[in-house]
Symmetry: D3
């Protein structure tokens, strides 16, 4: 890769990937709505509101790959989501089309399918059932990506990220956790694949308990190495008390599904 | 029905339904972005930009059913679609939640699935493959409706309208045509059903050639009566020359799938 | 047919079929736990508790077809269901095996699948989800029939009867109603088929609203003629008020699904 | 249609179609391995062994549609089948490719799927399970057609003909019968379709008993009008005695499935 | 776990589990129809005929988990099966409902699906095709469990046990064998799961040859460790001669499927 | 195994298997159209044109297992394919029937499904979409094998071989490569299975990138051990430049799908 754009580079996940992707591309162009001033060698930075059409056009130009983490990453007001995730996704894809910017790894979310029950094993063809406005906006992004693929040939991996943190913060994440290393390996696979198309990939490590089956995208060659098993006996996991009838336990989206309408 | 809201009442389809639905509800509250001044008995009118949150809250309050045709109905700029179809859909559903406004018939579109090939028989579970930004926005509306159903219990019929005109304008519409009478009957069925849930319904008459199978929503009891067969021998149909390899013929979305990026 | 056994002949459905099947077979052997004394020409009667093994062996001997309606037909205590529907079904099938008594039409019930939601279109392969101990017992009968088919070659039609009455008693039955004439036609088709096997058939007329799809058993040639449409405007139908969130409306089993544990 | 080639024009089905297709095309070019000398207006004749490559190249040149009935139509020696059905099919498709001869209606056969049991409802995606060398050769033809479609864009309708005779000759044909009129209508639909692709169509009338479901090819608009119901009470039907365990009754291929290896 | 009930504790499998589950719960309450007098620390014993309603009510009271192995475990007379497996299952589930006794691990059996052929890969949604009255009774238990889940929220794991012995006794068991250790791990997973629902689980180790696919219940996190591979070269395995056309080899149920009607 | 026939023994794959199968059977009868004169102990040789009926009858007689690699193994003229693969397959299967020669391992090919896109995960039930006349002929062989199984009980494994070479020759083969050792193990499994039936098996090692899912034939117990991962960094792999829109990259058949009509 020559120049890869990493949007949302200032967030937790963005910061983690800056480390693991160091040296992978000649240049990693970081963007975020907030300033980033601790640039490493091989990194450049462009401050950018993804809802700003012209700014995004400039941001994307000259890139040959995009890791699109940017936008709002949890439930929020519709206005915030509209700007960051709806306008933002459109601006990024439209810029890819105009500037022939190569592949996109779109950071979608498990909250696109959060209203399926835990006992339901999902795969790439499972129906979208978002659990939040945030989840709806990620579903919008997936549809948009599919449209840019079908009409304009822009390839995208639609990665429905589970929970990409250092470790599972609660019992639910024993099933949804993806290590940063596994995600890094997925990113490299996506950009190295001879042909990508527009697959749905569940972003999850090789945990003991699984809700999602990636068999249909075996052509990508992504075989996660990490497992949440090493965290099963941590105190905060052992001590958590769960009720199987709690909507946060019943539905895959967890607390997002259990929550009511977002109030500022 | 006591008071039903009909959005987009000033459009072609809205005008047609005003005739066929006359007398069906105690009051039909019409709305449109443009003025309507030829009100009939039982009709009231509220001029409203669907992208205006507060205006939509007022518009929906007091209604016990919504036929949501409003917004942009063909491909357009993203900004237009964003206001009319993205913000508009959110405002309508959020108003339904806040005002417990009863069921929604959401006018979705065949352009949500327009990139499937004609030889593919679709049903309610077929993947969304939008053929336009317009189609993407209708897919957004369907996801939003599903979310409001799963979380808040708002019932919606997601009607993927084929071509609802007086008669098929071209050969493609021999397969996609829905008569206004059949649509009217569907509307009545949707609001009369003992339980609606959130079904996907293909809005199409009983034409000789069919791309879509409504078997999965047989519980609604909608059995279209009209057929495009009566138009098969009209001159504009007989004289149209088609190429099976033309994208407009290959894909279900027709010209929407064949078009490039919308330019003002 | 030479001699057909009709169990449960004293019940409402049995009485109705005695009329419509008159003359169809050389002899119709009626049985019931209670006496029947109004025999018509071509009918004989054997009083029989279906839970009595030896009595059922005698009852079935010499028959070349069995319409098995007998047993308990609504929710009841487990002891009653055990005797009439569990022991009863076993005794009937074991008698068929021992006496090579020909085909069986087993009166199963929609309550075998009563916990599916109304919006779910079922077919012969849908999972059993009984809504009552009665439904569980009918599921047992279906499994038993399948076993006697796989191991001993006893052919059975497993007819999941909806609501076989003169007319729909409530709004739910607009979807589940089967006319006695349609059921009679089904019975004749089942015994006339060149090969029956062991199919699941939903016993329902050609109603406007449908929950069940019999396409997979089209080889039987059963095409119901009647429809509940003629009852849609009867006062008891028009006046019934339903709540879509009532379990009796949500689930296909209606009141059976909504009821708690049966108490004497 | 300007010039349509009808191979196998001397067979029973060919002779029947010559009548019903009269006047449909400017010219119908007949071919057969045996002479035909009763030509009607609009008909021409070319005697041709379909196994003869050069002869078939000449035969096909200048045609804009092909109804390919020719070859062996029942079980026979492998050598006969090899010449008529394997070489024959190759020669016809290769000629279409070389001469850009337009669409092909390939007369496939129910014997391609003859080892499915009668209780199994098939559709266009059901696995091929041939019941004879003849059936295997028709499966070869379907694969070849699919190959010419995928690689060279030659459109074909793969019509798995049931039993196309004046009337059903036995009880099995009550389920497999296709009237000549219905077949004629199918032929016209196939050549008139705006886009054909390469569909599998079961060639069967609207009989009361059905083994095959054409829902997936509803886009063709073929809705058979005739039914074997009118023959159900003919003496040869009523008097036929069948055993449900006879392989000829158990399997859809009937006598073809029940027969052993073909002996001269 | 505080107090877990283990029914059928006197059988081979029960005895094995007493060892591997020692110390897992504060108390393991054993029950059997025959006396058990070698109690270990943490074990209590209640002699009980599972067909005795009142006895089972007492047995279950105070337990917060049930491992239900009890009843008849091979083919037998219907009367025996009726008492142990039909009445027994009802009594246990009804006791769970009345006493809110927590989760149930129901020892179902591969004989529920024993009439599928070996070449058919089954999963949790495969149709039940019992191979014996015993298999039918286990199917009844599964339906009953589903009913108690759908109506009363009683969670159950329906474990279709293959062959849980020290080692495979014959070649068939190379595919069906489950080690006691793997079963023990499954039991612990079932009771530790944050949410169980009512899944079907195939009880089988990680053998080289597999007939059953547990992918759909990956949410349980059960990953068997043992394999029958270590027994492949034992003399009784190497020396066994099998005929692929023997019903005991053709069908998954083995000898159960091949046997005729059980005779005392 | 006493005497196993290996057809096509003179080809690359045949030569490789002669080494790995040495000592497996009492006798390995080699055949090829060209002479083989370096026979090892336990090997015999019969020169044979597979298109010669009588020669094949003699060749097969006395064998109790057949590994059928013979015929044409890449695209060629139809005449060549007709003789080697069409006549050849018929002759082999007919000889098996006549001489009750035991099981067949039929070397089918990935080119039977070569027109599926790479992003499509296939299994044993995926539709055949051949990418060449060669692929069509292998599909013919599969249909023939299925016919001989359904009618005459001849068991066959239909192995859709990916790329069985020492190492992957190009990037595509990273996904399609099967090591000779893995193939050897598959061969032994096929002939050792207690029951084989007529399964479709994808012949591919445990490569990182996978297009084919063999879960449905897990009953065979074949678990490939090798992986193309060890070749990922070889220069010819690293240096190959691919275009995702090249038909040879888009379709699973690679160059076979991309090629035009074969010209001598």
């Amino acid at each position: 890769m020559k120049r890869v754009l990493l949007t949302g580079a200032g967030g937790n996940l963005g910061r983690a990937l800056r480390k693991t992707l160091a040296g992978w591309a000649d240049e990693i162009r970081l963007s975020d709505i907030a300033p980033i001033d601790d640039l490493n060698e091989g990194e450049t930075f462009v401050q950018c509101d993804l809802g700003d059409y012209e700014a995004v056009m400039s941001l994307v130009e000259g890139c040959d790959g995009i890791i699109h983490l940017g936008g709002i990453s949890v439930e929020n007001t519709f206005d915030s989501i509209l700007n960051g995730n709806i306008k933002g996704a459109y601006n990024v894809y439209e810029a890819c089309r105009r500037h022939r910017a190569g592949r996109v790894l779109f950071a979608s979310s498990n909250h696109v399918i959060g209203y399926h029950e835990r006992e339901t094993c999902l795969d790439a063809d499972s129906a979208m059932r978002p659990d939040s406005l945030y989840g709806v906006s990620k579903g919008f992004g997936e549809l948009l990506a599919r449209y840019y693929w079908d009409k304009f040939g822009v390839e995208s991996a639609l990665v429905r990220i589970g929970s990409c943190f250092d470790k599972p913060a609660n019992r639910r994440m024993l099933s949804t956790w993806m290590s940063v290393d596994d995600f890094t390996d997925l990113i490299k696979r996506v950009f190295a694949a001879d042909r990508l198309g527009c697959p749905v990939v569940y972003g999850v490590s090789d945990n003991p308990t699984k809700w999602w089956d990636n068999t249909k995208v075996s052509y990508l060659g992504w075989n996660p190495k990490d497992s949440s098993a090493v965290f099963e006996n941590e105190p905060h996991i052992l001590e958590e008390v769960v009720d199987p009838n709690d909507p946060a336990v019943r539905y895959q989206g967890g607390g997002f599904a259990a929550a009511g309408h977002f109030e500022d």
